[in-house]
């Protein structure tokens, strides 16, 4: 992995609390020497927050699709079908009787 990507991976391990004790200590020392580190960690945290919101939106879109599929008018009776259902049943029974 190239250095920039490795840096992002290190930031991620720090932010997700995946550092070992030794890595955490090295991180504290690095923070003292590198003034950009905290700002970069804040930016990455912001990306994760944005991804959370984007993920929720995606899940809501998927739920809308499931709802639309399950609640299609063809699956449920319309008021007209409901109102005429006894009459249709009667006609079916009578046609079978003939």
């Amino acid at each position: 992995m190239r250095p920039t990507l490795e840096y992002l991976r290190q930031l991620e391990r720090h932010l997700l609390g995946q550092h070992t004790a030794a890595e955490a200590e090295a991180w504290r020392v690095r923070q003292l020497l590198d003034s950009e580190l905290a700002a970069d960690a804040d930016t990455q945290q912001l990306l994760y927050q944005g991804l959370q919101v984007a993920g929720r939106q995606q899940l809501r879109r998927e739920l809308e699709l499931i709802h639309a599929r399950l609640e299609r008018p063809s699956r449920r009776q319309t008021w007209w079908q409901a109102a005429t259902s006894p009459l249709r049943s009667l006609l079916v029974r009578r046609s079978r009787g003939h």
Binding site: M1, L47, R69
Partner: protein, 182 residues
Amino acid sequence: METTAALRQALLADREQTLTGIYQRTFPMVRRYVQQHGGSAQDAKDVFHDALVIFYEKVVGETLVLSASASTYLVGVCRNLWRQELSRRTRQPAISLTDEHTEVAEEAELAEQATLSVLEQVERLGERCKDILLAFYYFQQPLEQIAATHQYRTVRSATVQKFKCLERLRNSVRALVSAATA
């Protein structure tokens, strides 16, 4: 009753099918409850979707252990959410806002704007990058599964691609921030 671990596995393996099954079993109960308590079918859907989002995040994040069925849990959450919504609709603002309140609200608004800027940039990533980032960071799918879905030969390739996508997102957000502050 399905265990929480089995449910988590099912949600990770086939989210659409698992959520559809839960939807079919649970939504009619939620709709009945909301409609019997002063709400509409649309209200029921909104409350149910809110509950499902909470439910998904808790189950895949392993912060919930179900002691009853998923349907029972969801109906319980929906009842609470609907009671809160009813109370919100009838509540009147009892106190006026102080300067302190306004300051807190402004800070929250700034944070929200920053998050929304990221959201905008997520939507501008290509489909592949967006899918990979959401699959990992929100839907919490394992990298093995992401690699298989996107036809990467190894988990390492998928990991590198994930960080490349994160880098792209980071660069576009930074460019936006620089443009805004210039």
